[in-house]
């Protein structure tokens, strides 16, 4: 299997993992509700 000319899954897997990580980060950030002010729940 080739991914943009990369054939070693340990290498193209790193790129896929990076992009997945960014997607997860963006999803978490976008799902956050608007500020509800200061919370002290600890």
């Amino acid at each position: 299997m080739s991914f943009f000319g990369l054939t070693d899954p340990y290498i193209w897997g790193a790129y896929v993992a990076c992009f997945l990580c960014v997607i997860v980060c963006c999803a978490i950030g976008l799902m956050v509700k608007k500020d509800t002010g200061e919370e002290e729940d600890e």
Partner: protein, 546 residues
């Protein structure tokens, strides 16, 4: 090095940049009303500022030129470091550590990492140790970053005769806005610098793929460079720039244990990054800053490592040599100059090339000073807030935290001078290794007790924390100084004592200290916790304060 930089354009860019930096420094100064605003600046943060500041602080010139040069040498396996930066350094750091750090920090009124750990365990000793570790170790990392930035600027511009002037000038500008503007100036300048870095690196990525014929052709050409025999700068087990090295080989041990694990895991206990969590007003702000932080990190680190590796194709086509051989042997420069040399040559003849080379140089300056400013603020706070508070409380037998901004500022200024002195004492080509050393040391010593402190359900066990810190520090130092070849070359104590660089030869000398020290630190913490829990059940109480 090829002289290809337009000095007037670069000076013009620097002048505009310096003016904006001074303006943001003044903004920070006007909004620094007390010690809390100097150390945390909670009221002036936003998701954008936190995301960019976190990213810019995390990624110094070390990530771009230090590890970019290593990617040119060791290949695209370094992309796993990009993943670890994103996954561990951002996602895990924000979701697992960020919100609890913020909440507990606020509950305990902690203003620094040392303060937080000390108050978590009600221990002046832990606070002292953490502050001392920061003061001793962080200037080495800071000097490596400063030296890396200045070296690149001086060599690329051809202004090597003005090395001292550039070094002092950069130190004075950073020192001035950190000392007067505190964390507010640091974070706002970080955001500005992150923006410049983002544009600079994005352009480099596009130009690289254009110059090499597109994404697929570039990677295919890189694969075809490997002939099956060893390449300069690599170790046994290297399989080319588009293949991972053989499992357990010397090359694998170097890349995985030193670069990937040392830096990837070490990011979790970076005092200057922990403060970013404590600066957030609420958890939502931290979550939202993940968006900009992750995109920023992917572009900066991904570009540096991808272009680093692909520079081999470019240099082979244009100079007939691989990056490492061309830059180190032919040009007589170090690995840290592979990326700067590549930028100079790849933009040569490109429309607006002068402008983009200058933009890259400015990006390097930004990458360096965004990290240096955060480090200097952290070192200054460790001395001027943590150690000063401990000394004052000991003298007056009180438990009040210092509110004296002036002491923080004086301490930051003194440490800036120390960092400049370090720059003249350190060997070359140590940017990536000094970064690994600092991050590995803090992880081995502090990660177990920091994690346990954040998630302990009942009273935190101070004895377990002290035992873990002691074991992690001792094992890390011993392994670095006597077993690991990179560490013992950096601080040649083993050679002074025994006459040889390391105690044992063979593959073990390529194993980084963090692989041994962190598991031992965790094991010691768990064992002490179990022993103390059993002792507690039998009725013996823990001492109240150390």
């Amino acid at each position: 090095m090829t002289a290809g930089v337009s000095i007037p354009i670069f000076i013009g860019m620097l002048a505009v940049f310096a003016a904006v930096t001074v303006g943001l420094g003044y903004f920070g100064y006007r909004n620094t009303k007390n010690n809390e605003s100097f150390l945390l600046g909670r009221n002036k943060t936003s998701p954008l500022i936190i995301g960019l500041s976190y990213g810019a602080t995390f990624l110094s010139a070390s990530a771009v030129i230090g590890f970019g040069g290593q990617a040119a040498t060791h290949g695209l396996s370094m992309m796993w470091l990009c993943f670890l930066n994103l996954f561990v350094g951002l996602l895990v750091a924000f979701l697992v550590f960020g919100s609890r750090t913020r909440r507990i920090g606020r509950k305990l009124s902690a203003s620094t990492f040392a303060d937080l750990l000390g108050k978590m365990y009600n221990s002046r000793g832990i606070r002292f140790f953490t502050a001392a570790l920061i003061i001793v170790m962080m200037p080495i990392y800071c000097a490596a970053v400063l030296k890396g930035g200045v070296n690149s600027v001086a060599v690329i511009t051809g202004l090597t005769d003005y090395y001292d002037v550039i070094l002092i000038l950069m130190a004075v500008i950073v020192g001035a806005y950190v000392i007067y503007g505190g964390i507010i100036a640091v974070m706002y300048n970080d955001a500005l610098q992150a923006g410049i870095m983002f544009v600079g690196m994005a352009v480099i990525l596009v130009v690289t793929f254009s110059a090499l014929g597109g994404v697929t052709d570039s990677f295919t050409a890189l694969s075809e460079l490997w002939t099956g025999s060893g390449a300069a700068g690599t170790l046994d087990g290297f399989n080319g720039w588009t293949n991972f090295s053989d499992f357990g080989s010397n090359e694998w041990l170097l890349v995985v244990t030193t670069f990937l694990m040392g830096v990837g895991i070490g990011a979790l206990t970076q005092p200057q990054l922990v403060v970013r969590f404590m600066s957030a007003k609420d958890d939502h702000m931290l979550d939202r800053s993940l968006i900009i932080g992750s995109i920023f990190m992917l572009v900066i680190v991904g570009t540096a490592y991808t272009c680093g590796a692909l520079s081999n194709v470019y240099f082979m086509e244009n100079q007939g040599e691989l990056s490492y051989a061309y830059v180190t042997n032919t040009l007589g420069l170090g690995v840290d100059f592979i990326i700067p040399q590549y930028i100079l040559e790849v933009f040569n003849g490109v429309l607006g090339g002068d402008f983009f080379v200058c933009l890259f140089l400015l990006s390097l300056v930004c990458a360096s000073i965004s990290t240096i400013s955060a480090l200097m603020h952290t070192v200054g706070a460790a001395g001027g807030y943590d150690l000063y508070t401990l000394a004052k409380n000991r003298q007056k037998e009180t438990v009040m935290d210092s509110q004296n901004v002036r002491v923080n500022r004086i301490c930051t200024a003194v440490m800036m001078v120390v960092v400049v002195v370090y720059c003249y004492l350190m060997p070359k080509d140590i940017i990536a290794k000094a970064t690994s050393l600092f991050m590995g040391m803090t992880a081995a010593a502090l990660l177990p007790c920091f994690s346990y402190g954040l998630y302990a359900k009942h009273r935190r066990d101070r004895r377990a924390a002290v035992a873990s810190i002691t074991a992690g520090t001792a094992v890390y130092l011993f392994w670095t100084l006597f077993i690991n070849s990179s560490g013992s070359a950096f601080l040649p104590i083993c050679r002074w004592l025994t006459g040889s660089q390391v105690l044992f030869t063979g593959s073990i000398m390529y194993v980084d200290a963090i692989v041994i020290a962190l598991p031992i630190s965790i094991a010691v913490m768990v064992i002490t916790l179990l022993i103390d829990r059993r002792t507690l059940r039998s009725g013996s109480p823990q001492p109240a304060e150390d």
